[in-house]
């Protein structure tokens, strides 16, 4: 039961973070350039993502499970460590927080000044921006969902988690018509980074022949372990940053 819940939760949180970022781009372009071309761009991106899922799904079933676990474990680990490193640096104040309001304002400004180009009766700037934004963020969602779901045979659950995130984020965006800047994005990325890294260690370990103590329950232990390590790294970085910012006292001679 534990891995199933964690798969749904992990896919939901990771997808929600990516979808919030895509929503900011879509809203900014839609509010300034009109919705028709943006809607076509979003639709085209969903079709492209659907085609990718249709191609990837059957291909994954052809790969032996041990090899799949090693590959998925390694991908989740490198991907999870990227998220976790950035979240730790942001939590410690070394790197600026991701600010959806600022990104929205910048996108609106750029959209207002972009020259109108019409192709296939579409505002090409609005179409390509919406298409690329949704496709690139969606690609990350697809890879997280496929990675989370494929090795444990929970692809349906992972897809359900991502689908729930899509409904929640799209509904919230339609209601507020503003970027979802109140979403605690860094906390979510911190959590997702810990989950991706823990799943990566778990499946990568199983793939190379490790037998985890406590079987599936070891996942909870790994999540706890990486949470403690990450929080310790944040505390250590904060301390070092505070020391570095403390002005050196100047000695004045009498």
């Amino acid at each position: 039961m534990t891995p199933q819940v964690l798969v749904v939760l992990g896919a939901f949180l990771a997808s929600a973070v990516e979808m919030v970022e895509a929503l900011t781009i879509v809203l900014a372009v839609g509010m300034t350039r009109g919705w028709r071309s943006v809607a076509v761009g979003v639709g085209a991106a969903f079709v492209a993502l659907g085609a990718l899922i249709a191609a990837l799904g059957p291909a994954l079933t052809q790969i032996p499970i041990e090899a799949l676990r090693i590959v998925v474990g390694a991908v989740l680990l490198t991907f999870g460590l990227q998220w976790l490193r950035k979240a730790i640096l942001r939590a410690a104040g070394v790197r600026a927080l991701h600010d959806e309001e600022e990104i929205y304002a910048r996108e609106v400004e750029e959209s207002r000044h972009a020259a109108p180009t019409t192709r296939a009766r579409l505002d090409w700037y609005a179409f390509t921006l919406a298409f690329k934004g949704v496709l690139l963020e969606g690609l990350e969602v697809v890879f997280i969902v496929v990675s989370f779901g494929s090795t444990g045979g929970h692809l349906g659950l992972a897809a359900a988690g991502a689908g729930a995130a899509l409904v929640v984020v799209a509904t919230a965006g339609a209601l507020v018509h503003r970027p979802l800047s109140r979403v605690p994005e860094n906390s979510l990325k911190f959590t997702v980074g810990i989950m991706l890294t823990s799943f990566g260690v778990f499946w990568g370990g199983e793939g190379v022949g490790v037998s985890w103590p406590g079987s599936d329950l070891a996942l909870l232990g790994l999540i706890g372990f990486f949470a403690v390590v990450s929080l310790a790294l944040v505390a250590d970085l904060r301390r070092r940053t505070a020391v570095a910012r403390t002005p050196t006292p100047t000695v004045t001679q009498a």
Binding site: L81, R95, V201, V208, G209, V210, S211
Partner: protein, 78 residues
């Protein structure tokens, strides 16, 4: 850069990101665990190795980051 270069760059950024050493560390950790798993059950090795890779990667990134002024407002950053 042609489309092939951009395609390769996208996947490199997507999977490896801005610290190639961390990706290498993950590969080495998995390889070492696989070697030791022949006859043993080194379940502790991978978590410890990955935590070490994370700590080194964070330190490297912090060392190369430009310190932000204390009063600086947030800026957009992926």
């Amino acid at each position: 850069m042609g489309w092939l270069g951009r395609f390769a760059r996208f996947w490199y950024d997507f999977l490896v990101g801005d610290d190639w050493l961390a990706a290498v560390g993950v590969g080495v950790a998995l390889g070492a665990t696989a070697l030791l798993a022949d006859g043993h059950n080194p379940w502790w090795l991978l978590p410890v190795a990955v935590a070490t890779v994370l700590a080194v990667s964070v330190r490297r990134a912090a060392a190369s980051a430009t310190p932000r002024p204390i009063d600086a407002g947030p800026s957009a950053d992926r």
